[in-house]
């Protein structure tokens, strides 16, 4: 069935390095994508979003890239900090799902000093 998934369950990076978290989606009707950060004991926190008519969007230290040809989404975090350690989820919604979000399984990012 249609799904949103992540390539890697865990990612360990050194403080100061750049991080890249990847996500694959299979619903070609998806037109909106969101990255969330979830810290232990907290709810998903909005990081950045991108619409399907764009292929790149930048925020503060974060960049989301969308490749619709291969149905791939990535989150780049520049100069990763210890406070970036969390689980990161991609989520999508499109015509088929109304405005309900379909979440991926999550990637755990661990930043080591």
């Amino acid at each position: 069935g249609e799904s949103v998934g992540l390539h890697l369950p865990t990612l360990s990076v050194q403080e100061g390095d750049n991080s890249i978290i990847n996500c694959a989606y299979s619903n070609s009707a998806s037109d909106y994508f969101i990255w969330y950060k979830q810290e232990s004991g907290k709810g998903p926190q909005f990081i950045i979003d991108i619409r399907s008519n764009m292929d790149k969007r930048q925020g503060q230290r974060v960049t989301v890239l969308l490749n619709k040809t291969v149905k791939h989404l990535s989150l780049q975090i520049a100069a990763t900090q210890p406070g970036d350690s969390a689980v990161y989820f991609c989520a999508e919604n499109g015509e088929d799902s109304g405005y309900a979000l379909n979440f991926g399984k999550g990637t755990s990012l661990l930043v080591t000093p």
Partner: protein
Amino acid sequence: EPEVTQTPSHQVTQMGQEVILRCVPISNHLYFYWYRQILGQKVEFLVSFYNNEISEKSEIFDDQFSVERPDGSNFTLKIRSTKLEDSAMYFCASREWTGNQPQHFGDGTRLSIL
């Protein structure tokens, strides 16, 4: 910064009992959602609510579940007769208006069914 608030943070209930989880969405938001997250799994959509009615629900949201907006600020999820498999984190979310806008989540209620 306005936020979604949920109470209680942890609810322990005997199997078969009714439970009500409460949420106060962001004040100018019009769309409200419940999601759940079983330990170690991904976040799953339960139901969306707009204009005082359910607009979409998943297969998980069966007859044991109901939602209500009893006043201008609260949004509740009721589970009529809880089962062991209802144990999970339940997240409320809200969104400002229609179209592609981010949903903002509360910190969840951990529901433990004994």
